[in-house]
């Protein structure tokens, strides 16, 4: 089969194999930390660091059971907190951003251009520039150590990026639909709820996915606003787990780390195509 003569096809085939080889080598480097973590969560304490091989000899769930209940309250509480905050944040963004986006995309009002400019400008604003006064406000309202500072801003459309995304999307919906509804006697509110909202499906789903992932993974705001153990979320609790257990129970730490990634991972599996599309077309940070 093999010939010594190198035809262009041969060279192309060789190139393709080289590409695959390089990509597979890269894949191993990329996933090794994740495999090491997942494998280590099933290993004995002494084997975690001494073995380079990430695969455990058995799937012993011991570390998971011990880690879940090692804290007071248990991780059940932290997951309830995290998921509740994420779900409320998603609801807030969906409701508030669609209302705002509809006004910017379809309605006419005084000051529209100025307000639209302000909205765009606020996308780029680093959160730290607003941090202290927001904290002072929430502190004085007595909201520290509640969910409120983490979800109320979403109900007030502060995630301007999603407004922008939705404005872009609503502009692609033909205006003839609005006009037809208007002739049938629909007001702006009915046009919004009956015509525009049902057609924004794809962009709503993108908003929901990314709001969920960002909120669930967020650490800074949760670190600042949640300091009672019972109000802590998964990332904050995991971070405290490192301090609390010190050098004694790496297996449990790895097990809880693995579990903390599961919600994000499930969302990724369910919505992989949309996530990739969302990043590719809008530059959303994954």
């Amino acid at each position: 089969m093999t010939t010594l003569q190198h035809t262009p096809t041969d060279r192309r085939r060789a190139r393709r194999w080289l590409t695959h080889l390089a990509l597979i080598a890269g894949t191993l480097v990329m996933v090794y930390p994740l495999l090491w973590m997942a494998g280590g969560s099933f290993k004995d304490e002494k084997d975690i660091f001494s073995q380079l091989n990430p695969f455990p000899s058995s799937l012993d769930p011991r570390n998971y059971i011990a880690g879940w209940t090692a804290t007071d309250p248990t991780f059940t509480r932290f997951y309830i907190n995290s998921l509740l905050i994420a779900v409320l944040a998603v609801a807030g963004n969906v409701i508030a951003c669609t209302l705002t986006a509809y006004a910017f995309a379809r309605l006419e009002f005084r000051g529209k251009k100025v307000f639209f400019g302000i909205m765009l400008g606020s996308i780029m604003l680093p959160a730290h520039a607003l941090l202290i006064p927001q904290y002072v406000l929430f502190f004085n309202l007595g909201w520290v150590n509640t969910y409120l500072p983490l979800v109320v801003p979403n109900f007030l459309a502060t995630d301007a990026f999603f407004i922008f995304l939705m404005v872009q999307f609503i502009r692609t919906i033909p205006r003839t639909l609005d006009e037809a509804a208007m002739i049938d006697g629909c007001g702006k509110v009915r046009i919004f709820s009956r015509i525009i909202l049902p057609l924004t499906g794809p962009v709503l789903i993108t908003t929901m996915i990314f709001t969920f992932i960002w909120t669930y993974n967020d650490f800074f705001a949760q670190l600042i606003y949640l300091s009672y153990p019972s109000s802590e979320t998964v990332p904050v609790a995991l971070r405290r787990f490192v301090d609390a257990t010190g050098d004694s129970s790496y297996g449990q730490l790895l097990a809880m780390s693995v579990l903390s990634l599961v919600p994000t991972f499930i969302v990724f599996l369910l919505a992989q195509r949309r996530i990739v599309e969302g990043i590719a077309t809008t530059g959303l940070k994954g």
Binding site: H20, P33, F49, I118, M182, P235, V242
Partner: protein
């Protein structure tokens, strides 16, 4: 921006759809008209948010930056005291600036370089391409989390995996995390590892480049490197530009990895004292909230300056087809 035809426009006028609002002042609805009220109703949540959570706090932190403020007592005016102290009397502040600049300068080009290289490799009719893309993307999805930062600390610790690996080749390791010379670089590596999302953006851009251009270049005898340099890169410059702007803004604000790996201290010897980490320590550990506000405003100005410089330089190297 397009303007819809007003139903109330006087008969006989040309409709002004999709043009600037050309209606004369006489026909323009008065402030507080029904049209405005409906729109403002839709915007009500956003207005409240803008006032209380965006514009208000922005000005508030500017004011606080000129005061001494500890949350419990009213702020006391100190003029430019905080700013002066930052640059003349606070070595830790200067250290945090240095650490952050090193981090930005190293991670942004390296991360984007990897992202582009892998995107180019994946932009071929390749079996399993979707799989590769997913696997390369996953670290970017999970990498910002506390869990990964925790793992990173373990991988590069004294008895961590990297040292076991080096020992395999007979190289003596060290504790990369607890040495001030190397701790920052482990965090740089962590960020480079997350090149997945710029890669996905590059990949989308590469798909837009017409195949005919490559074919024409091949006919002219261009090597694959030449095709990359003369076709791919110029046509991709708008996307490279977009990624550079975005990544710089994000890198300046990095927080979680440094906080988790150093246990909140920025150590060892302040070698991972990121800007935002020091801001957190000043504002929320020491309750120097005036000082933290001043730091926040300097950060805002730094990021704004970098972004403006980027846009200024863009004219020289970013290629737009429709120009």
């Amino acid at each position: 921006m397009s303007t819809s035809t007003e139903i109330s426009a006087p008969a006989g006028r040309e409709p002004t759809a999709d043009g600037p609002d050309r209606s004369t002042p006489a026909t323009r609805p008065k402030p507080g008209s029904r049209r405005d009220r409906v729109a403002y109703l839709f915007l009500a949540p956003w207005f409240v948010g803008l006032l209380l959570l965006t514009a208000g706090p922005l000005l508030g932190s500017l004011y606080l930056s000129f005061t001494k403020f500890n949350l419990l007592q009213p702020p006391a005016w100190t003029g430019f005291g905080n700013y002066l102290k930052m640059f003349t009397d606070d070595p830790r502040y200067l250290q945090s600036l240095k650490v952050t600049f090193i981090y930005v300068v190293l991670t942004v080009p390296l991360q984007l370089g990897f992202a582009l290289a892998v995107a180019v490799m994946l932009n071929r009719p390749l079996r399993g391409m979707a799989w590769y893309r997913s696997i390369y993307y996953i670290p970017s999805l999970l990498g910002g989390s506390v869990a990964i930062a925790v793992i990173w600390g373990q991988l590069f610790d004294d008895d961590g995996v990297l040292n076991s690996f080096l020992a395999f080749f007979g190289v003596a390791g060290r504790s990369w995390i607890s040495s001030p010379d190397t701790a920052l670089y482990t965090l740089v590596l962590l960020n480079i590892w997350q090149f997945g999302s710029p890669m996905v953006i590059f990949l989308a851009g590469l798909k837009q480049i017409p195949q005919e251009l490559y074919d024409a270049a091949s006919v002219d005898g261009a090597s694959s490197w030449r095709r990359f340099r003369s076709v791919t890169v110029p046509l991709l410059t708008p996307i490279i530009f977009f990624n550079v702007v975005l990544q710089i803004i994000q890198a300046f604000q990095a927080f979680t990895p440094a906080y988790v790996v150093s246990g909140g201290s920025g150590g060892p010897s302040d070698s991972t004292l990121f800007y935002t980490l020091y801001l957190y320590q000043q504002g929320f550990t020491n309750l120097n909230m005036g000082y933290a506000s001043a730091m926040a405003w300097v950060l805002l100005l730094i990021i704004a300056t970098f972004t403006l410089i980027n846009f200024g330089l863009a004219r020289r190297w970013v290629y737009y087809e429709d120009r």
